[in-house]
C-alpha cells in the first residue's frame, strides 16, 4: 500500500497495461474458439450442400416458386432403371386423359420438358430436357401416384447457389430438403 502511495501509477500506463491484457485475452479466446470449432469441422463430412430426400418429398410445387433463382435449381430427374417404360405414363399424361397423344392439354409437364421416344412395343423411353424443366414436380407426383416413382425431384448442384439459408428448404412442408456432405450431393433412386 505504501509503495502505491509513493509511486502513483500513471493512468496512461495503466490503460496500456489493460489494453495489452485485453489483446492477449482476445487472442486466446479466438484461438480456443477456433481450436474447438476446428474439431467440429471435418472437411469431407461437412454439410455444405442442399438436397431433397425423395422419400420425404410430397411434390407440393414450392421448389418451383420459392427458389431464389428465377428458374429453380430443382429439376426432375429420371431413374431409368426404376422406370417401367409404360405407354400410359402417369408422369407424362395427365390423369383421365381421353386420347394418348402429345397434345399439350393431355400432358402433365407445363413446359414440355418431358420427351418420349418409342423403343419397342410396348415400351417408351422418357427423357427430361433439363433446360426446360422448372422443378414444379407435377410429373413426379403423377409418376409416384400411378407408376414406379422413377421421376423425382433433385437439386442440381451445378445450378444451386448454396445459399446459407436455403429458401426452398424453409418452404418445404415435409422437411425433405437437408444439408448434405459432398459424398452425398445427390440422393438417387437407382
Amino acid at each position: 500500500m505504501r509503495s502505491y502511495h509513493q509511486k502513483p501509477t500513471n493512468p496512461l500506463e495503466r490503460r496500456k497495461f489493460l489494453i495489452n491484457g485485453a489483446r492477449w485475452l482476445a487472442g486466446g479466446i479466438v484461438l480456443a474458439l477456433s481450436g474447438f470449432s476446428y474439431r467440429k469441422s471435418t472437411a469431407k463430412g461437412s454439410l455444405h450442400f442442399w438436397q431433397i430426400d425423395p422419400s420425404l418429398c410430397t411434390f407440393c410445387g414450392r421448389c418451383q416458386t420459392d427458389c431464389v433463382l428465377s428458374v429453380s435449381a430443382v429439376k426432375c430427374v429420371h431413374a431409368v432403371k426404376v422406370c417401367g417404360y409404360c405407354d400410359l405414363c402417369g408422369g407424362y399424361y395427365r390423369a383421365n386423359v381421353k386420347e394418348l397423344n402429345t397434345a399439350a392439354e393431355n400432358l402433365t409437364c407445363p413446359t414440355g420438358a418431358i420427351q418420349r421416344k418409342y423403343v419397342e412395343d410396348p415400351y417408351f423411353e422418357y427423357t427430361i430436357r433439363e433446360e426446360l424443366c422448372n422443378g414444379c414436380g407435377k410429373c413426379a407426383k403423377g409418376c409416384n401416384s400411378f407408376g414406379n416413382g422413377s421421376l423425382y425431384l433433385q437439386i442440381k448442384q451445378d445450378l444451386c447457389k448454396k445459399c446459407n439459408e436455403c429458401r426452398i428448404a424453409r418452404a418445404c412442408p415435409s422437411n425433405a430438403i437437408r444439408r448434405v456432405p459432398i459424398s452425398k450431393v445427390y440422393d438417387l433412386k437407382e
Partner: protein, 404 residues
C-alpha cells in the same frame, strides 16, 4: 419404393442411357475464395497501416464487388458464417465446413492485428456502399448512438435462431445478395437499393447500423496490435479528417468542463455499474417471457401448432404442411416431445441472449457518461472501417508529399 410395373425385358438390344449428375468443384472454389480473402485483406492492411494510401482500398472494393459479389454471388459470407459457427457449437449433427470457419475467423484475426481491414473493401457489402458514397452528411449523435446498439441486438437474435437450428435470419434478411444475383425477393432488393441510396449521402448505413459482424470486428479492432493512424505527423486540429470520415469514427478534441478528481470519476462509473445487473436481469426476463413467441420461428413448432389447430377444429382444406404430416404417418406425441425440447432450448437461450442484450445496453449507457478529454482528433477504432478517406484530407500528409 413401389414397383407397380416390372422392369421391361427389351428385345431390341436397347441400352439404358447413362444419366449425368454434375458435381461442382467446390473444394477448389473454397480454396480460391479463402485465398482471395487473405490476399485482399493483406493488401488493405499493407495500404492503410504501412503506406497510408486509399487507392488500394478502392481497388479492393471493385475487385471484391466483382469477385465475391457478382461472380461468387454471396454465399458463404463472413457475416452469415457467424450462424454456422454458432450452430456447430450447439448441434452435434451439424458439421461445419472448414472454409466457412475460416471465413468467420480470418477477418477476426486480421481485426485483432490491423483493425477492420475486412470491412474496408474486402466485404462486398461494405465495398458496394463505399463505392457509391459521394457526399458526406453527418447524422446527429443521438441517432447514431441509438442505432449503433442495433447490430448487437440483431446479433443476439441471429444467435438465438441459429443455435436452436430454426433459421439463419442474417441470410434471410440479407439486403444485398439479391442485387449481386440480379434476382431474389423484391422487398429485400428494394431495401438493399434504399440502403445504397442512403449510402450516397451518409457512409455505410448497413455496416454501421445493421451488420453484426462489423460490431464483433469493432471489439477486436479496439484492442488491435497495430492501429490505423491518420497521419504520422502531429495533428494540427484542422477538422478536415473529421468532416471526411463517412462513418463518424473520428472524434473531435474535447475539453471536459466538469472538473472532477479521477477517483470521483471512477466512483461515479462504479455507481452506474450497479445498475448493470438490474438491466441484465430485466433483459433476460423479458426475453424469457417472450421465448414462446420466438420459438414460432422454428418449423417444427409451426407444424405442431398447425396440427393442434387442426385437431381442435378440423379444417376443410388442409395446408401442405398438414398433408405432409398426416401423409408421413407421424405420431402427434412424437412431434410434441420434439417441440418440447425445442421450446426448452428457446427458453434457455432467450434468457442468455436477453442478458447479453441487457449488458450491451447498459455498457452503451455507461459509455455515454464517460467523458474523456482529447487534445486532438482521435480515431474511434471500433467504428473505423479503414476506408482511408482521411489520409488525403490531412494537410500534414500533403506537406510530407511536397517535402519529398
Amino acid at each position: 419404393m413401389q414397383n407397380r410395373f416390372p422392369k421391361p425385358d427389351f428385345e431390341s438390344g436397347y441400352l439404358y442411357p447413362e444419366p449425368h449428375y454434375p458435381i461442382p468443384h467446390e473444394a477448389l472454389w473454397s480454396y480460391i475464395d479463402v485465398g482471395v480473402l487473405l490476399l485482399l485483406m493483406s493488401f488493405v492492411a499493407w495500404a492503410i497501416i504501412k503506406k497510408q494510401v486509399r487507392w488500394p482500398v478502392t481497388l479492393t472494393s471493385v475487385l471484391s464487388v466483382a469477385y465475391f459479389g457478382f461472380f461468387r454471388q454471396g454465399c458463404v459470407c463472413s457475416i452469415g458464417a457467424i450462424q454456422n459457427v454458432a450452430l456447430a457449437w450447439t448441434t452435434p449433427s451439424y458439421s461445419l465446413p472448414l472454409y466457412v470457419l475460416l471465413f468467420f475467423l480470418l477477418p477476426v484475426l486480421f481485426a485483432l492485428f490491423w483493425g477492420r481491414v475486412f470491412c474496408a473493401g474486402v466485404c462486398p457489402f461494405g465495398a458496394l456502399q463505399d463505392l457509391v458514397h459521394v457526399k458526406n452528411y453527418k447524422l446527429s449523435k443521438a441517432v447514431t448512438g441509438a442505432l449503433s446498439t442495433f447490430p448487437w441486438i440483431y446479433l443476439g437474435f441471429a444467435l438465438l435462431f441459429a443455435v436452436t437450428n430454426s433459421q439463419f435470419i442474417l441470410c434471410r434478411f440479407d439486403p444485398f445478395v439479391g442485387i449481386f444475383r440480379l434476382g431474389g425477393e423484391g422487398a429485400l432488393i428494394l431495401f438493399g437499393v434504399l440502403l445504397l441510396f442512403f449510402s450516397i449521402f451518409t457512409g455505410r448505413p448497413f455496416c454501421r447500423f445493421i451488420c453484426p459482424y462489423g460490431a464483433i470486428l469493432g471489439l477486436f479492432s479496439q484492442i488491435s496490435f497495430r492501429k490505423i493512424s491518420i497521419t504520422k505527423q502531429e495533428c494540427i486540429n484542422c477538422q478536415l479528417c473529421h468532416n471526411a470520415c463517412p462513418v463518424d469514427a473520428i472524434r473531435p478534441p474535447y475539453v471536459n468542463k466538469v472538473k472532477e478528481r479521477r477517483a470521483a470519476g471512477v466512483h461515479r462509473i462504479l455507481r452506474y455499474m450497479i445498475f448493470t445487473p438490474v438491466i441484465i436481469i430485466a433483459g433476460s426476463t423479458v426475453m424469457y417471457v417472450l421465448s414462446d413467441k420466438f420459438s414460432k420461428a422454428n418449423k417444427e413448432v409451426q407444424l405442431y401448432e398447425a396440427v393442434m389447430q387442426n385437431e381442435a377444429r378440423p379444417q376443410e382444406v388442409q395446408s401442405l404442411e398438414l398433408q405432409a404430416f398426416y401423409g408421413q404417418g407421424r405420431a402427434k406425441e412424437e412431434l410434441w416431445t420434439e417441440v418440447e425440447v425445442i421450446k426448452k432450448e428457446f427458453r434457455i437461450w432467450s434468457g442468455i441472449i436477453g442478458a447479453f442484450i441487457g449488458l450491451i445496453i447498459s455498457l452503451t449507457l455507461i459509455n455515454l457518461s464517460a467523458k474523456r478529454t482529447r487534445k486532438s482528433y482521435e480515431i474511434d477504432h471500433a467504428k473505423c472501417v479503414c476506408c482511408g478517406r482521411c489520409f488525403s484530407y490531412c494537410p500534414q500528409n500533403q506537406k510530407n508529399i511536397i517535402s519529398v
